[in-house]
Amino acid sequence: MWLKIEARPAPSVRMKYLSPLIAVALTLMTGVIFSAFMSLNPLNTFHAFFISPIDDWYGLGELGVNAIPLVLIGTGLAIGFRSNVWNIGAEGQLAMGAIFGGGVALYFYEQEGAYVLPLMFVMGALGGMFWASIPAFLRTRFNTNEILVSLMLNYVAILILSYLVHDLWRDPDGFNFPESRLFSESSTLPIVLEGTRLHFGVVIALGAVALAWVFVRKSFLGYQMQVAGMANAAALYAGFKRKRMVWVGLLSGGLAAGVAGLMEVAGPIGQLLPSVSPGYGYAAIIVAFVGRLHPFGILLAGLLMSLLYLGGESAQMDLGLPSAVTGVFQGMLLFYLLAADLFINFRMRRDTAGSRVAGAGL
């Protein structure tokens, strides 16, 4: 008996929503096998990974803190991904948002004023969009692959940030550590849940999800970008403006990443450091896919990914597992998702007739 893969007459809607769950389940199973292999008690591992990080209010707050950039960036990237605009430079755009927004904070150091924080948001957004506009411009003007350009710019942005905190913006009282001054009160985000680190960014992230939902479901531009992603020739035939979509697709990711970067330095971090993100810009790509490029899905996927980050840290403390495990599971999750997605458009069937082709000979 053979299993045969054949195309479904129509894509399965059920599988579309089921496949992320299958991917999560498979990732968990792999984790259990993995921990058994490392002669750890799977139950303990599971507890360390998924329960203990969030068994109190503080933990839940941390879940939100980590989810904010993931959801925000994932939402922004998904708008581009839907039209096959592959911005994978969110990590660099995030750094640029931190530099631009953080720069404002350092410029207005120890000045109190309600204008500082809004100005930081504006500059953070502009920083991310500026960095994303480079691949957008090169793509629309010179047909340069936006994947490679946006990726290269990640390295450049992080090197620039590193230069700034090592040199130009280094804290004069910081004993030569590569870090900026701590931002003053007026330049840090307010906490929304007492006793946790959950900050104002949660409002921004949820607002972005709602906005993106309207854009995707209701707006004509959202429709156009979906058409371009599914069938580029049809978009050309309809007369949709491809260049505009490239710009919108890249800038939405840049905007989200820039704001997320600003909120990291103005929130949980509170200053500029050589590294302002534990790979949020890359993890958000996975979040976007696992969330089916749908804003609400991305919200759930962002929370899951956030838990994976927290779990990695907690496993390090409780079990002595290296935090690199998080990266392994992130990649694995996306692998399983991509594999499970096969069953949206295809199905397995027992190959009964095919093997009964008549005859001897040859």
Binding site: E6, A7, R8, P9, A10, P11, K218, S219, F220, L221, Y223, Q226, V227, M230, A231, A233, A234, L236, Y237, A238, G239, F240, K241, A353, G354, R356, V357, A358, G359, A360, G361, L362
Partner: protein
């Protein structure tokens, strides 16, 4: 005398047909018994039987989607049957892959050539043969075989520089090099001028004379009557008759093919209002496809109330011309007047803006260009109609979109599960009716249609042709690009020919014939009356 078994299909008058036989042997070269092949959505072959003798030129006739191509792919080992048996010279065989087929002496010329543009003729041929690649030796053999059968070919040329007719020669020579005992030709004449068809038939008759069996797939009845000694007729995956086409007559064949009489059209005289609706004025354009055809100095006019047809062998600039007219390939603003819609220069506009001027367009690729395959009919209705009040403040008015989609479905009798059905779930004919409906219901001044009935069943085809005529009667200008000469002669008021990116003068169907248009299709037409073309190109199609 044939021993013939009829399938479970509709039983036909089994008059004993005595067929002349060029070979005295009674062992058939190929025998198919009860072949069955099921795809997820359709039964492509259902209990198909077929017998071919040495020296036979055996026609496989049927409409698009009747299962002819699937059957041939099974014989050639590209597709595996779900049930049934294949006998080769009396022996039961299993053909798992094309290499098996070639080994026993089966060659196939595909309708969509299996050629590689960036490789040379010799390399292309080597890819279809067993064993290592020895360029010099192979080139010599190609030259000698192509000379013997009157199919001149230069083995060193790159395939993308060849005309469609020459490409077919590559395919045929590739088969002939293996000295086949059975040659399958899948719709070979759709890429040839009438003159080239005559030459091809000579080659095929010579081959048959040498004892090769030929399976000739076609839906063109006149050709079959001219060439073939026996015909197996298929409809919806089943064999509906095995006849001598020379005796049966076109009407009888057609009845077996489509199950009823061929439809007729209400045509009427053109109502030309001498209003210039679509004008092409010395349009020249470089193709953005490196293997495409450049347009050279194209000028013609389509008036309101007439249908103008563009005939031509595919690959002579039709794609480029259509993109230049539709706006998918706009020109710089300095040459805006090369295309004028209702008098307004439009060559620099994109497709969106041209629709504002009253032009709508039905492209030849339906899935992926005319519609977005996974999207619903509703969402696909929006694709080209959004300017008709369906978008307000940047948001979509889904109710109005649905109304429009439902109107199209109703007006054009689109069979579907509802307007929420995904476009790719529709059959070719219904999808084409939907697209034509969408473009026509926008009440265009100019409608441009490419290959209106390609891959469409006869019923849908006649509905579409009638709709085009009706639109013309409402004084719209209609431009039809088609490779089917019959179709153009049937519905057009004037016909022009495109060859090597140039356009011929226009002729009324009543003032010309297939012969003349065929000659023009190979590039040999008088210089246009309106524009003088300085260099007359050499023949692109031999």
């Amino acid at each position: 005398m044939f021993r013939r078994r009829f399938s479970a299909g509709p039983r036909l008058p089994t008059q004993a047909i005595k067929l002349t036989q060029s070979d005295s042997s009674t062992i058939p070269r190929l025998e198919l018994r009860d072949i069955r092949k099921v795809y997820p959505a359709v039964v492509a072959n259902d209990g198909v039987n077929l017998t071919a003798y040495p020296g036979d030129i055996h026609a496989i006739v049927g409409e698009n989607g009747a299962g002819k191509s699937t059957l041939m792919k099974i014989v050639y080992g590209v597709t595996k049957p779900d049930a049934g048996e294949i006998r080769w010279e009396g022996e039961r065989v299993r053909i798992n892959r094309p290499a098996d087929a070639r080994k026993i002496g089966i060659g196939m010329v595909f309708q969509h050539f299996s050629l590689f543009e960036t490789l040379t003729v010799a390399q292309n041929i080597a890819l279809g043969m067993e064993g290592p690649y020895r360029p010099d030796e192979l080139s010599e053999r190609i030259e000698s075989v192509s000379e013997h059968y009157g199919l001149p070919l230069d083995p060193r040329r790159l395939v993308h520089s060849l005309s469609v007719g020459e490409r077919q020669r590559v395919e045929i020579v590739r088969c002939l090099l293996q000295e086949p005992k059975l040659l399958i030709m899948d719709e070979p004449t759709s890429v040839l001028t009438p003159q080239a068809v005559t030459k091809l038939f000579d080659t095929l008759r010579r081959l048959a004379g040498e004892g090769c069996s030929i399976l000739y797939i076609s839906h063109k009845l006149e050709e079959i009557q001219e060439l073939c000694g026996v015909a197996t007729v298929m409809r919806r995956g089943k064999v509906t008759g095995v006849v001598d086409p020379k005796k049966e007559g076109a009407a009888g064949l057609a009845r077996m093919m489509i199950g009823r009489e061929l439809p007729a059209y209400e045509h009427g005289e053109p109502v030309s209002v001498r209003e210039e609706r679509l004008v092409l004025d010395r349009l020249s354009m470089t193709s953005d496809d490196p293997f495409g055809t450049d347009l050279k100095d194209i000028s013609f006019t389509v008036y309101g109330g007439e249908i103008v047809g563009i005939a031509g062998i595919s690959g002579n600039g039709q794609q480029e011309l259509l993109k230049a007219i539709s706006g998918e390939a706009p020109l710089p603003a300095s040459r805006a007047s090369a295309v004028r819609i209702d008098g307004k220069p439009a060559a620099h506009f994109d497709a969106d803006t041209r629709r504002d001027l009253g032009l709508t367009f039905v492209p030849e690729e339906r899935l992926g260009r005319g519609v977005v395959p996974p999207m619903s009919l509703d969402e696909n209705a929006l694709l080209t109609t959004y300017r008709k009040g369906m978008v307000r403040y940047g948001l979509i008015d889904r109710l109005r979109v649905r109304e429009f989609a439902e109107q199209c479905v109703q007006d054009f009798d689109v069979r579907c599960a509802g307007t929420h059905a995904a476009a790719k779930s529709l059959s070719g004919g219904n999808l084409q009716k939907f697209i034509v409906g969408r473009e026509m219901n926008q009440k265009p001044e100019v409608l441009v249609v490419s290959q209106p009935t390609w891959g469409v069943d006869v019923g849908a085809a006649s509905a579409i042709r009638q709709a085009l005529i009706d639109l013309r009667n409402e004084r719209a200008a209609v431009l039809v690009v088609s490779e089917e000469l019959d179709e153009l002669f049937e519905i057009c008021d004037r016909i022009v020919v495109i060859a090597q990116g140039r356009i011929s003068p226009a002729r009324k169907p009543s003032e010309t014939d297939m012969e003349e248009i065929g000659l023009w299709m190979s590039g040999m037409f008088p210089e246009s009356e309106t524009v003088k073309v300085s260099t007359s190109g050499t023949s692109h199609v031999a």
